[in-house]
């Protein structure tokens, strides 16, 4: 893997990573990080049969609510090019580092990228990549991101770039948290509104049995950083991709329901 070995890093864990999760080194003004692309086959498998929801021609249906969680008008207008789907993997709650930023955006096709911090020093770069994507698109779609992903992104960025604390917020034009949409649309018919439940009942998709549970993620990442263990890291990467693709599909289903 010629494009992998980072300059100055001590090699072995990074090499091992490059073998199991081929990707490329991404250099940013805030340092470098590791970039992974979603497997096109996986995207086709999950989103292949979706209608052309994301075509800019989607007609302007009347919105179901004014300003509430179901007011998806702006989202509809900004699709496909102006919207960024995001999902984070972190070492815990507020105050803990973010180590994986997964984004999906729509061009001529669905594009998925993951930015991985291979150790604590690469967190600024993955955050930089997020802000770069957001600046370009402006509208954010997440699942439970209003209480988790967004504050996390803000706080971790302020952590590394304290003097930007007052200006970050302005890169965000609108944020759709599909948790609230899902609760309104499907909540009463489902046992709960967790992403996996929605994935199963709304998207009709059953995830592989060895999907890593959320609570095991911080430790698994720590083991990767301290001991170079990549096995669980692969599972985390897969988990994050699945979460994002489900997010995209849920967004489609919600727009369908509301049009």
């Amino acid at each position: 893997m010629p494009h992998v070995g980072p300059a100055g890093a001590s090699g072995s864990p990074y090499d091992q990573l490059a073998r199991v999760l081929p990707g490329r080194l991404r250099r940013t003004p805030w340092g470098c990080c590791y970039e992974l692309a979603f497997c096109p086959r996986l995207i086709r498998q999950r989103l292949g049969q979706l209608p052309e929801l994301f075509s800019p021609a989607a007609e302007q249906a009347e919105s179901a609510g004014q300003g509430g969680p179901l007011d998806l008008e702006l989202l509809r207008q900004r699709l496909p090019g102006g919207v960024l789907f995001v999902d984070l993997e972190t070492c815990g709650f507020l105050g803990s580092p973010v180590f994986l930023v997964g984004v999906v955006y729509l061009g001529r096709e669905v594009v998925g990228r993951q930015y991985l911090a291979r150790d604590w020093s690469e967190e600024p770069a993955i955050l930089y990549q997020f802000w770069k994507h957001l600046r370009r698109r402006g509208v954010l779609v997440s699942f439970n991101g209003k209480s988790f992903d967004w504050p996390m992104l803000l706080q971790r960025t302020i952590y590394h770039q304290p003097q930007r604390h007052a200006t970050l917020q302005r890169h965000l034009q609108e944020h759709y948290d599909l948790l609230y949409v899902a609760r309104r649309l499907w909540g009463r018919h489902l046992p709960n509104c967790r992403l996996k439940t929605l994935e199963r009942y709304i998207c009709g998709y059953q995830r592989a049995a060895d999907d890593i549970p959320g609570w095991a993620i911080p430790d698994a990442y720590r083991r990767f950083v301290t001991q170079g263990e990549t096995e669980d890291l692969e599972r985390i990467v897969y988990h994050n991709q699945m979460d994002l693709l489900t997010l995209v599909e849920l967004c489609c289903r919600a727009l369908e329901r509301l049009s």
Binding site: G8, A9, C91, G92, F93, L94, G95, S96, D119, W120, S121, L154, Q155, R156, T157, I158, Y159, H160, P162, Q163, H165, A166, P218, R222, V225, T226
Partner: protein
Amino acid sequence: MDVQRFLDHLQHLPGYRGQLVHVEELPPREAEPGELRPPLPEPLRRMLAARGIRQLYVHQQQAVELLRRGRHVVITTGTASGKSLCYHLPVLEQLLQDGQATALYLFPTKALAQDQLKGLHRLLEGAAVGAASVQPGVYDGDTPRGQRRSIRQQSRLVLSNPDMLHAALLPYHPGWARFFAGLRFVVLDEAHSYRGIFGAHVAQVLRRLRRVCARYGSRPVFVATSATIANPQQLLEQLVGEPFEVVSRDGSPRGRKFFAFWNPPPAGRGRPWRRSAVDEAVALMIQGMEQGAQVLTFARTRQQAELVFRYVQEYFRRQGSPLAQQVQAYRGGYLPHQRRQIEADLFSGRLRGLAATNALELGIDVGGLDMVIILGYPGTIASCWQQAGRAGRAAGPPATGSFRSGVKPAAGAEAPRRPGSQPAVGPPAAGSFRSEVKPGVGAEAPSRPGSQPAAGAPRVSGGSAETDRYPYLFRQEALLPPEACTGGNESLVVLVAGNDPVDQFLMRHPEYFFGRSPEHAVADPHNPYILRKHLALAAQEAPLDEEAALFFGSHWQQHAAPLERQGLLLRRRGRFYYQGPAGPAQGVSLRHLSDETFTIVLLSPGGEVPPSAPAEAAAWEGLLGQQVPQEQVLATVDGFSAPELVYPEAIYLHQGRTYLVRHLDWQGKLAYVEPVQSDYYTQAIVEKAVLVQESQLERLAAPGHRAGWGTVQVRWKTTAFKKIKFHTRENIGWGSVSLPQQQLQTKALWLLPQGCAGSGGELAEALAGLCHLATKAAPLVTMSDTTDLGGTVDFQNFGRGAVILYDRYPGGLGYCERALAALEQLLRLCLQLLQECPCQSGCPGCVGLPSWRPGQASDPDLTTSGPLPDKEKTRRLLKRLLAGGWSPPQAAAPQGLTAQA
């Protein structure tokens, strides 16, 4: 109160035995105003006018002018001199001028923050500026979740404490970005309390604060207030790490105050010690309260405070006096709401007497008291003056300048007085409680209507023990009519001497106390043990790079390296990243040796002790705070004291009531107690050993005396306890205790005399005496608190007899190192204490009492076993030690040296 008359009264009591050895009169002082240039902005002038303040005192003027110029300032004027205005004014001036500016007020206790918030609100009420633009808020462990967010996002003046800054603000600084970026002022109120271990921690917390602020582009000005200490400037420079200016010229007026030294009479009949200081304090407190004074007694230990309260209340109960309901105890470990209630009651005057520990020493506003009794020298001159400052606050014309005097009445009015309770002037003349004292009758007298004896309240046994107890201060004939001494703005402070050498020394040399400047306070910012803990936390707040040297010194990398080896930090491209467990600050307590608190849980009588949870589960439940329903919690105790206070079968004293410890859950940090009516209390017996691990510095003297300093491990364990009968202090039984051993890695000083005549036994007697003297004298030399040092006689470590003194903190605090440097001074002071003591063959006033044990000196409640001290042998030993000249300290030869801070 009319102090002269009261003292005269005391001296005419038939049982008076010359206890009053000295009275110092502190004259009243006139106000000295100061004019601020340029004057305050109009809204602030109106704000002051609304509080009746037309002119500032000179110290307020000086402080404001320095702060306006961006200097860090420490203000050291007296209690009630209007110190808080010194910081309120420049802070408010800045917040009004700049809508983004913020300020952080830090108080050593939560109670002080609440107290000051009330004061601020009242101050702002009168201002056209209104609280709206400032939105002051207290952010501490008690702040409801709902308010935290708005304080974080909007408040421009946050009142908090160093613990909260350390564990809740700094680690989550991105959530406080607005606040830190705008931070212009940091206020350190009562900064003298940041000394010793707490000070060393706070010094690191403040360095972390400065570092975080620098990252947000702000550079706050620090303003501190301090009680009188010898080195306010040095202390603050140690704490903050930047230069400070001192404002000390007190421009506030003061009423006349008297400071009396009271030495309990000899116990008599071949008993070489003096009568109990507790008994004397109880008698004085009763006399004072009966004369209409509001009296505060400062005890040295929690148990003493409980005993004084219990005895005073018992006395008034027996008299059928309503004062029995107007006396209380106050100490650390009481739950916050109890403490707030007691403070408010003292302030409002409802409470006429309070027996407190130094938990009340800090500037909580309890109003001016008529009389303060200091039960035993509190170890430092500064602390003594601080406690004395509780007597007779601002007096004279309520002229101006004193923010406090302007505010206080409102506070008093706020606290609702209970129907039937007394106005602040004194106890009611009602009833016949002053009539003939008939032992036993009072006990049967119905308690006041409306008062409810709580469950488990001690019953007075009606025996003769209590009447025997105060035989000489309670004869009827000579007593003044009640409340004869009320009125006037004079106040009285009484220092009641204990048997300790230093207490007795002060009784012989009052001029030493009044002529000497208060002690130095030490906050060691280089303590490696503490520095390392905070370096890890600093790394969690932002990766450590070269800039860290600006805050943590140029050697910070030396301390970061071990953290890297532990796996807490990861080094990448010259920076250290934190990678330890989440929330590391939670595990670092700023205050206690052991970073743990035990909770004391109340069982109903005969109730079941819940099964002990497995360690892990208990830890989790402890984290989640779910294990113990709050209403069952009686009190708390720090992990260091727990094995000495709440071992199984201990009698735990709380509000004068007795509780039996049924079970101590060591893992779960829980002690289960149940109310019992006990006629005894318990004292732990602790076995202690010191193991010398590394010798680092050495001094020699002819003909072969050695003194050294280095690393030791102190191990101790509660092995048994004594049952002591109330009042008579008879030892009525024993019990054994099985608890895990505790250990402390610290620094120690050892002294190995050479060529002492006589057998090992004889040397042991001399060493025991020296140890007792040295643990008491060392604080005077090392500028530490008596509780900061421990001492023991040892024959194990060096193959010969030695006295070992050690710092009672992990890693040491530099006290013993200083004692080694000043060894001759220390020895001379020991000899002086010994020679000036008039006793024949030893007493607690010098080498210790034969029935006492050496090494217990710094822990009045504890005893250890050891050889019996001998005065003459100790004297000869000291002479010999002082005869040969001591070489300067140098590196100890054989062992490898570790880096010194």
